[in-house]
Symmetry: none
Subunit: 211 residues, 2 copies
């Protein structure tokens, strides 16, 4: 069960990247064959499937329907895509996260981390004093360790929410703090699972397509 990228897979990834960079759109199987120097579709099919399985690309059905998601160890100059998982709440934890199946382009600097990054749309006003308003979007980097003061994405039961993580010497010790005086702190129970840290806040409609 080898999951590290192989030399050949890396080469194909580079072929795809180079093609995109110079043409502006992704290559066909035929074009990948030529640039990789193989004569069989099956080679491409196999390699693409592995790249997809390991999260390097996304592949839909249809002509040229592939996109590079990120590169594991290399700088890539192309906007990569972060999955938009759905809408979370910055108010009362009410709404569960659902996979929206949509993708948002992120800068390639961010995309370097992208194995563990996703994007959430915020609804609610419980974090307005932290600069996160209703309608904003946040990029969440999944991680396991947090320090007091981090703004985190947490699941409470099966609901997702964004709050500030607080860890004190005195009661209530460890809790999630909404950045809005109208909301109460959320105490830590077994039901609360921290998933990641907010690394970027895209204000309101600035992240959406412009009309």
């Amino acid at each position: 069960m080898q999951r590290a990228i192989t030399e050949r897979q890396k080469q194909l990834l580079e072929v795809i990247y180079d093609f995109c960079a110079s043409s502006g759109y992704p290559p066909t199987f035929e074009e990948m064959r030529q640039n990789l120097g193989v004569s069989s579709n099956q080679s491409i099919v196999d390699l693409l499937e592995k790249l997809r399985r390991d999260g390097f690309i996304k592949k839909d059905s249809g002509a040229r329907s592939l996109a590079i998601l990120h590169l594991g160890y290399e700088v890539i100059g192309r906007p990569a895509l972060a999955p938009v998982l759905g809408t979370t709440t910055a108010g009362l934890p009410a709404e569960s996260i659902e996979i929206a199946g949509d993708w948002h382009p992120v800068s390639s600097d961010v995309a370097k981390f992208a194995e563990d990054i996703f994007m959430l749309k915020i609804s609610g006003d419980s974090m307005i004093n932290a600069g996160i308003d209703d309608g904003d979007a946040v990029l969440v980097q999944t991680m396991k360790e947090f320090v007091s003061g981090d703004i985190v994405f947490a699941e409470i039961g099966d609901e997702g929410t964004v709050k500030r993580f607080m860890s004190d010497d005195k009661p209530p010790y460890v809790y999630l703090k909404p950045e809005n005086p109208n909301y109460k702190n959320i105490l830590f129970t077994d039901d609360v699972r921290l998933k990641g840290k907010i690394i970027s806040v895209l204000k309101d409609k600035s992240w959406q397509s412009v009309k």
Copy 2:
């Protein structure tokens, strides 16, 4: 010899852009038809030809073989660069802005505005309650009109600073408010010039290049 982009052409351009942004690859004729709400291929062919003629897109033969080139009325489709102007202060307005000559890749959604966008590194803690910490970076979109509550980038004399713009009915009427109780409001004088609004906050080191 009409060369201005028409409303319909602009709509198609937006359809293409939106499709690319969410899928990572360009749309087919069929997909463009659906998103534009027409039933004929010819409509797409015609519109594409005009967009191509006027330099908005490139079109090769083959499936999904089109790409948005650059701008006409907006920057589209490719990773753009936002100039990093330097370090501003979120503490006492102390340091003047200097061109750092550095560039940061931004997502293509942001890049649509990019003629008027720049990025600043933040030093100081005067905006911590608005979620902007020392070491963060912000994207500033230059604009001329502001509403109370906007987080703005302002020049005071020859120094740059990021604060919340406030406009009240009662004294002190119009002022810049640090989001940190340890700092005092800054009253509006002739010396204060609002330059733009913060549209994105990139937390701490998440925006830097990783090694």
